[in-house]
């Protein structure tokens, strides 16, 4: 009896935790289509009006363009730099590679506020002008560790015999990488890039301090929250969720990464 109760209690906690994680997101999506301007049940009617209101704003389009620029640049740069590092880390001795993971993982553990303020004070003393470039540079620090982690995991169970054969048959290291290694790990690289992009797209705190002027999608949300009740914020929230969750879902399919 006792065991059965314990099992039931655990299942209940599991289901409640899941609701706890998912419910806020589901509600935002639901209310973005609701015709009432208040977020209360029951939802009376269905409308695309809030999306229309969002599209009619000029600042939405410039924020979208800025987000696309930053996200694209971070995705490419973090993946290239992280993959190069992973190719070295994977062949270090276990102790050394653990140390490398720890070092490169540090920015991941740091609260974004601390990262943002430390970079902001250094940029300001060096006279670096804040722009999308400073945002991209800052995003590299906490997206790169994810790329290194994912790509190293893939390279660990890589069949090195195919590389040896290519080299034995006279291919240069670069040619071997381009014709053998890269095609084999390509899905993982796309996956890693998508994760980096999702993280970058979702970041608010670091972007807020380092962008200088203008908006990305999350800082636009912040601005709308401060100006009062505007239901098109649900439409914007849904759009951000669609982009971040969509790209990470795709990434998880590609990499088969499970923690």
């Amino acid at each position: 009896m006792n065991i059965a109760y314990g099992r039931l209690a655990n299942t209940t906690i599991g289901i409640l935790c899941m609701i706890f994680m998912v419910a806020p997101l589901v509600l935002v999506v639901l209310f973005s289509f609701g015709s009432s301007s208040l977020m209360t049940f029951p939802i009376r009617g269905f409308t695309f009006g809030w999306y229309g209101a969002l599209m009619a704003r000029d600042d939405f389009w410039s924020a979208l363009a800025n987000s696309a620029t930053v996200t694209g640049a971070v995705g490419v740069a973090a993946t290239v730099i992280g993959t190069a590092a992973a190719m070295v880390i994977v062949r270090l001795r276990p102790r050394q590679s653990a140390a490398a993971f720890f070092l490169f993982g540090l920015p991941m553990m740091m609260p974004p506020l601390v990262l943002a303020l430390a970079l902001l004070s250094l940029f300001s003393v060096l006279g670096v002008k804040l722009s999308l470039v400073t945002v991209v540079l800052a995003h590299l620090t906490f997206t790169m560790p994810f790329v290194i982690l994912i790509v190293t995991a893939r390279l660990r169970d890589f069949d090195y015999a195919v590389i040896d054969s290519a080299r034995d048959l006279g291919a240069s290291p670069l040619k071997t990488f381009l014709t053998v290694t890269f095609p084999l790990i390509r899905p993982t690289l796309f996956g890693a890039a998508l994760i980096a992009m999702a993280l970058s797209l979702d970041d608010f705190v670091i972007t807020f301090f380092l962008i200088g002027g203008g908006n990305t999608l999350p800082t636009l949300v912040w601005g709308m929250l401060r100006t009062g009740l505007d239901p098109s914020i649900n439409a914007l929230g849904t759009l951000i969720l669609l982009l971040t969750i969509g790209s990470s879902a795709l990434a998880l399919r590609l990499t088969r990464y499970r923690g």
């Binding site: 935790c17 997101l25 992280g82 190719m87 430390a118 971040t244």
Partner: protein, 285 residues
Amino acid sequence: MSDGAPLSLKRDGALLLPAAAVLAGLFIGPMLYFLVVSFFKVSLFKIVPGFDLGNYAKVVGSYGPPILFTMGIGFLIASVTTVLAFIVAHLIWTRGRRFSGILLAATLLTLFGGYLVKIYAWRTLLGRDGIVNNTLVGLGIVREPIEALLYSPVAVVLVLVSYLLPFAILPLYGALRSIEEKTIEAARDLGASPWAAVRDAVLPRCVPALVTAFALCFLVTAGDYVTPRMVGGTRTMMMGNFIESQFGLRMNVPLGAAMTYLTITASIAVIAFVWLALKTVLRPK
């Protein structure tokens, strides 16, 4: 790994350079500069270099209660999240394919998106006319809507636990997956109850992951200023809020840097204490 590896460390160590440059130039460098600045002074709105412990003295003297409050709420949030996350991770690990599949999908999908979106969704959920209050009144559990649900420390705890759960579940699930089932079977065969098997055979093997999950949750909470500002109300001021305000209206970067380093130091002390405690309590038997 084969010896005929196509890359040799000596020749190809250079591949590590760009990543090392990012780490050194954009993380370690700024953090060190920030540490140095914490000993500078501000006079007439200008930063004056020097070695001055005044900032630290000021933080200890005037910001003691907020630091303690931040550490306390951080400890609460990180503990609750880690315990719940372990239960969920354990369910994913032990239950049938369908249930664990759904749990794992919910975890992975809520991981990478919507920090700000989640916070403002909770704000509408917990408000006076929000869904939580309407349900409670509708079910007759309370007569009047609970005003204190939103704009209180309770709201900060709810929002951050909900936000942090997926981050804590993943490392724990990773640790559980690497445990061989034989270990548990052996414990059960020797007569251990399910709970005893988890306590003596499973939990001790998860200590590093438990500490990772706790540390991650604790550090995010200690450095957060958006959640307390959005749902905490005017009286819930955490260190993140004070740190952030030194870079906005008050413009006292050295003081803000000193606050940051004291908060980080206190956080590391709490995490180290939790690590030692877990290592002592959870010994493999």
